[in-house]
Symmetry: C2
Subunit: 199 residues, 2 copies
Amino acid sequence: MSSSASIGSVAIQQRRERERAERHQLIVDAARQLAETEGWEAVTTRRLAERVEYSQPVLYSHFKGKDAIVRAVAIESFGVLAEQLRAARTAHAEPAAALRALAVAYLDFASARPALYEVMFVRPTDLAFGTSEAPAPLRAAFGEILTAVQPLAGGHDLETLTEVVWSALHGLATLTSGQRLRPAQHQARLDLLLGRLTG
Amino acid sequence: MSSSASIGSVAIQQRRERERAERHQLIVDAARQLAETEGWEAVTTRRLAERVEYSQPVLYSHFKGKDAIVRAVAIESFGVLAEQLRAARTAHAEPAAALRALAVAYLDFASARPALYEVMFVRPTDLAFGTSEAPAPLRAAFGEILTAVQPLAGGHDLETLTEVVWSALHGLATLTSGQRLRPAQHQARLDLLLGRLTG
DNA sequence: TCGCGCAGCTAGCACTGCTAGATCCTTCGA
DNA sequence: TCGAAGGATCTAGCAGTGCTAGCTGCGCGA
């Protein structure tokens, strides 16, 4: 029966694509998990292959190289961050409170998930940012900050002010993670920053 | 003649120590030069050894490991940055102008010498910072920012405000270097930041 | 001038990212 | 039902990494 045979081949191909997609995600998950528990220097192709219970070359049938795997983790993480920023922002009606909650959420993400923050913002990557080619989760994360800043922009250019706010948060996040700021003054710094930038 | 012999041995030992110190500096210079021209991924022990015209093991008689060489470059660079910040700050009598010049000098350093800035502030290192064990050039660099901020601190805690200013500059520096901010708005961001933080 | 001590080298280990080529298993057509 | 074709997967290996054990030969002191 040629008809059932062709139906079968389509179903089989679909199943294969589904299995491939699952394994693709398995690799990304393993990389993220390994990085979060042991740091990015522990993420090697051999250890990754061992985790997903396949040989190394399989990784290269899914990704062009190790960098592409790391990039996939980064893009996924932008989605997580965007979601958390949104939750924090929308939990407050008052603009100043919303921005503050968003800022706290941003810094919490950076300190709670340093490996993810590192690969998203610190490690030099060729991820497009400003352009329209930037991945959607990435634009979403920036959009969250922008939305929170908007009601407080006053006479300033919204996008410029957003860039400044983001830069300051990023600076606080990375210097804090590098233990270069006095931990006890964490909240005082944030208060001072937000009070001055959007007072 | 035992006296001349012992004098000779002292002189010889001094010469050896001098030569060792010169070679020590030669290694640090080679590492810095290699990093600035080809990036830190090009700084390998083999290429470094080739540059200084010795075999690899010689590096390990001077430094505990590759990390120690990189750290030496970082510490040296803190001295350079501190000097440039000082020059910019002392060139202006008016406090706001002095702080602005210092900020511009900071961002210029980051963009003109990205490899140095990276190893000083971006790469995760175990360099002590807040403590008194921090290397002198490192404390000097922070002190320059603090001195420039001081006249404009107003009612705020000086050290906290300095940390915030530094964080914001650091954020601008790293996000700019990663091409994540709109280049054309560079000056607008700095104006906005300084105006708000120390207005 | 001789012998010692140590500076510096050669060679190699265990690891890295990545890939060529062999192998086996699945699927399809006769 | 069976053989052949195709592709998915693995083994083995390359060139490079940081680092070190152990040999060698030179320079100094007596």
